[in-house]
């Protein structure tokens, strides 16, 4: 029916227009801004970016953060999802509590962990009571890069594990109970059932969780600024400082393009890596 089709297109049109103006256009323009210096085509912005003293540490820190945070989050969320299947009462309440961080911004999470880790903070109080430190200790300073790194990891684990949990719990719910019950009849233990049934069937959910979390971890920024100022540099933070403090949209765009490139590369990697294994298991 052409009339119906017309209506469908009319309903879609506003959102398509909006997405073209606010996604497609800035996307194209990001490359143009990044590749031009004073109106002329050049790789100057990328050269400035690469020569900057903060570039190499920012790239290294961002990649290290992803390598540490994402696997930890997936393991933690997987354990939480498995625990949920074992709870009989108050399951909804537990799930609600565990998903509260979904609504907490990265800036707020950074500030919360700053409060916990400050010199006279709560964590130091506990460490002192346990006899591990003596008196107030300053952790969050540029002299202790490892402590800064661990603090950011803790804040990100606290804030952003919930989103992985949601994806995995949705995936677990799709697995028919009968599979596990059948395996149990044949004498499979809890670990075997998890390893041989749950994990392979969760692969699509794990894939989307990994992709989404890696993309979001690449954009880690406000947590880092709240905890370390600029003592721990990350790519997104550099994009922010170049735009907001130095007013240099060219170099900021170069960072943006780099972040985009890495996110696309990571997405393709996970799509490939997890698909290949799926095929081998089918055989």
């Amino acid at each position: 029916m052409p009339k119906e089709r017309l209506l469908a297109y009319l309903l879609l049109a506003p959102s398509v227009l909006f997405l073209l103006v606010f996604f497609a256009w800035p996307f194209a323009e990001a490359f143009i801004v990044a590749l031009q210096v004073r109106g002329e085509w050049s790789l100057g912005n990328f050269a400035t970016m690469a020569r900057d003293i903060n570039f190499a540490p920012a790239l290294r820190n961002t990649m290290l953060l992803i390598l540490v945070i994402v696997p930890l989050q997936v393991m933690l969320a997987l354990s939480m999802a498995m625990l949920l299947t074992r709870i009989r009462r108050q399951r909804d309440l537990v799930l609600y509590i565990w998903t509260i961080p979904l609504g907490i911004s990265d800036l707020a999470a950074g500030i919360v962990w700053l409060a916990l880790l400050s010199e006279q903070g709560y964590i130091n109080t506990v460490l002192d009571a346990l006899g591990l430190i003596e008196g107030p200790t300053l952790w969050l300073s540029y002299e202790r890069p490892v402590a800064l790194f661990v603090a950011v990891v803790a804040a990100e684990l606290w804030r952003a594990t919930a989103i992985v949990l949601v994806i995995l719990v949705a995936g677990v719910q799709l697995i028919p109970r009968e599979y596990g019950e059948a395996a149990e009849v044949f004498g499979a233990g809890a670990w075997q059932r998890f390893r041989r049934i749950t994990l392979p069937l969760l692969k699509p959910s794990l894939q989307s969780a990994l992709i989404l979390r890696t993309i979001l971890a690449l954009e880690v920024f406000a947590v880092v600024v709240a905890i370390s100022g600029r003592d721990l540099t990350v790519l997104m933070g550099e994009a922010y400082f170049w735009q907001n403090d130095y007013r240099d949209a060219g170099v900021a765009s170069a960072y943006a393009v780099l972040i985009l490139g890495i996110s696309i590369a990571c997405t393709l990697f996970f799509l490939r890596a997890l698909r290949v294994r799926e095929e081998t298991e089918m055989r």
Partner: protein
């Protein structure tokens, strides 16, 4: 078996504390006296409850206007995301048409776009169009972030409302619009409200675009991050508390939808 059950219970409780304890402690910090920040050793119980820190926070230049700006931007984002997204979601749920899968794919792809790719070039254009440093400009970018989710969420929402109800209304003499307003809307309302709240939270929590697209008219997040370097600790803690509060209230309000909302949004 009972030992195993105890272990599971213990693990569940520890993980609940892991989420709740930091929130509790920021509340204690925000409602303690200012110098309690430097007290040693720290008390885990609220010592003297006082609104002194909070009052100082709100008295600081830029906080109240930031709060107001945040609310306005989030409201604009909410309205625009629903107004643009819900019709598209309805079309995806009800009609078959060429290009449907392409559209879906494009909407899903927007997720791979890091915020700087949108926001940095837009600062350049916004200056030309007079949108730089306006609340509308920030709200437009936040709408771009929230719209893909609004489309996908409303589409699954409308899919869940039986087409037969609508068709019955048509046979009883309703026009398409009337049927939508009288039959579909009331059923979709709670879900639409939850979607709107989702858009509100997306905007309320966003820092990067809000900061680089503004100079004077800052939202609360943009204001906080730009003064973070030179503010005292108790000021930061009060700020953290007020960033979290609306999130907690809203999350509680939509707890029934929490799971499906973020489930769809992260597919």
């Amino acid at each position: 078996m009972t030992i195993q059950r105890w272990l599971i219970l213990a693990a569940v409780l520890v993980l609940c504390l892991w989420v709740l304890l930091p929130i509790y402690l920021i509340v204690v910090s925000a409602f303690g006296p200012r110098d309690a920040v430097f007290a040693w050793p720290k008390s885990f119980w609220p010592v003297d409850f006082t609104t002194e820190t909070v009052a100082f926070f709100f008295g600081a230049q830029g906080v109240l206007s930031g709060l107001l700006n945040s609310i306005l931007v989030a409201l604009m984002t909410m309205v625009m995301a629903i107004a643009l997204g819900a019709p598209a979601g309805y079309a995806l749920a009800r009609f078959a048409f060429p290009g449907k899968n392409v559209y879906r794919l494009l909407v899903l792809m927007t997720r791979a776009f890091p915020i700087p790719v949108l926001a940095v070039p837009l600062t350049v254009r916004f200056i030309e169009f007079g949108l730089y440093d306006t609340l509308l400009g920030v709200a437009l970018v936040h709408t771009a972030l929230a719209l893909p989710f609004a489309v996908l969420i409303t589409s699954s929402l409308f899919l869940g409302i039986p087409r037969e109800l609508e068709e019955a209304a048509w046979t009883l003499g309703c026009t398409r619009l009337q049927a939508f307003r009288r039959v579909v809307m009331p059923l979709a309302m709670p879900g639409l409200a939850a979607t709107a709240i989702f858009a509100f939270i997306v905007s309320w929590n966003e820092v990067f675009a809000a900061t680089i697209l503004s100079l004077e008219n800052r939202t609360l997040t943009a204001f906080l991050i730009s003064v973070l370097g030179e503010s005292p600790l108790y000021f930061k803690f009060a700020g953290g508390f007020f960033l979290i509060v609306p999130a907690l209230v809203f999350i509680f309000a939509i707890r029934k939808y929490l799971f499906s909302l973020w489930g769809i949004a992260s597919r």
